[in-house]
Amino acid sequence: MSSSVLYDAPGPKARVRNRIYSVVGGLAVLGLIVFAVVRLNDKGQFAPEMWDIFNYAGVRTSIRDGVVTTLKVFAVAAVLSLALGVLLAVGRLSDHKAVRWFATGFIELFRAVPLLITIYVLWVLFLTYRSDLGLSGDNTGFWALVIGLTVYNGSVQAEVLRAGINSVPRGQREAAYALGMRKTQVMLTVLVPQAVRAMLPTIISQLVVTLKDTSLGYVITYQELLFQLQQLAGNIVVNDDNPYVPVIIVGGAIYIAMCLALSALATWIERRGRRAKTGIRVADAGQPLAATDALDVVDHSTVSAPDAPTGKTN
């Protein structure tokens, strides 16, 4: 009996060998960390004065402001992208050729272009037509970031939802039609709710990606968390040096905490979904796999489910 495909259950000899490897490996990992810490210490990045900056109210305020702005962008973009996702998913499954083509083209275009470029282009456009659009001050950056995040993540969410809608058993749709429901009613009251339920873990994982991508605001100089951190580190001088390491460690911890909290939510929902016996497979909470792959992950999981018919054709 062994629990791994790769390794047999270790016997006495292998156990000794594993223990030796453990010590050697542990020392190697420890050595790497110690080396990095010592080098940074030599540069004075761990001097108490460097870390003292977090005691100043101004520093704390700007970090707090950054977190608030990041969350604000995330909240607006999350809501809008989910709405757009539903719209596009329904559009892709529409009976009208024109609507279907438009939705498909929109999704393919914005999924293929890097989000950074979309955001940058929107920013330039908004700056150019600033007075016509009634934008002022920070608003330009805010809307460029929010709309960029919305069109990109909306496209990805649409594909996730479409896979979800296709995984709803055919009988559901047929029964709804047999009851005399109209197309819109079938879609909105029968198919979409079940699709959302099945895909909730994947949807939330994609929201983690959205949260991480708010940091692209840094490039268009929008005052979100990362930009604030960079400003802090760049402007403060302690012992003739910029406190990059302390600021990045603190900022990174904030980002990781926020993302892990969201991922934990996805895993929790997945486990709850597994418990219910509805016959609809709940997608793996998976990982916030890099950007586009929500689609492929979903395909993979729906295809491998024996009872879920999938309408994915390519």
Binding site: S22, P114, Y244, I248, C259, Q287, L289, D293
Partner: protein
């Protein structure tokens, strides 16, 4: 329209820049990812912990923050004066390696336990089992997610342009700073990315059909 024709050299340079940074970091991510996946499935606790920490930390950090780390912290630890290309490659490669690692690990997990047990009972050694039984089966299930990881990598490489690398985003930024119509620039840049991502997905589809077996 004229933006493309008048600035063909810049566009070409940007295109090649994106290609080279994507290829370089893809290679790094592949190597690192497989090594870390090896750590994560090994029976050696410290290495396993290291692998888990690596994946969790990198996957939950925004890539832009990793770029900041690569450009402001890494030179203090290792080599000052490294070129932006190498630093960007490091950031992109490390970030992507965590996704590659998870794909490889779940690929290994799709191989049924019975396969390895059968191989062992036939008297195969560890490396024979790995080479003849586990590896070929794992490869097939790893290919589809790998394709999307590399497409995502291509798009993520745009961030390198914001950190003084010459690639497509950088080119679009330069041209729009010069006052050319952003709409046209966007269209051409989008086309460039479509070419690259279609090439990648085509390549992987080819690979998939080559390795396909009836199961």
């Amino acid at each position: 329209m004229n933006v493309l024709l008048d600035h063909l050299p810049q566009f070409r340079e940007g295109f090649l820049g994106t290609l080279s940074i994507t290829a370089a970091s893809a290679a790094l991510a592949l190597v690192l990812g497989i090594v870390i996946a090896g750590f994560r499935v090994s029976p050696i606790p410290p290495l396993r912990a290291f692998g888990t920490a690596w994946v969790t930390l990198l996957r939950n950090t925004p890539l832009t923050l990793l770029f900041l780390i690569a450009f402001f912290v890494i030179p203090q630890i290792f080599f000052p004066g490294t070129s932006p290309f190498v630093l960007a490659m490091g950031a992109l490669g490390c970030y992507t390696s965590s996704f590659v690692c998870e794909a490889v690990r779940s690929g290994i997990n799709t191989v049924p336990l019975g396969q390895a047990e059968a191989a062992r009972s036939l008297g195969m050694t560890f490396f024979q089992t790995l080479r003849l039984i586990v590896f070929p089966q794992a490869t097939r299930s790893v290919i589809p997610p790998m394709s999307s990881i590399f497409i995502a990598l291509t798009k993520n490489s745009a961030i390198a342009g914001a950190f003084s690398n010459t690639e497509l985003f950088n080119v679009s930024k330069l041209l729009s700073d010069k006052g050319f119509a952003i709409g046209w620039i966007f269209l051409w840049i989008a086309l460039c990315y479509l070419v690259i991502t279609f090439a990648i997905s085509g390549l992987f589809r080819l690979l998939e059909s080559r390795l396909e077996v009836a199961r």
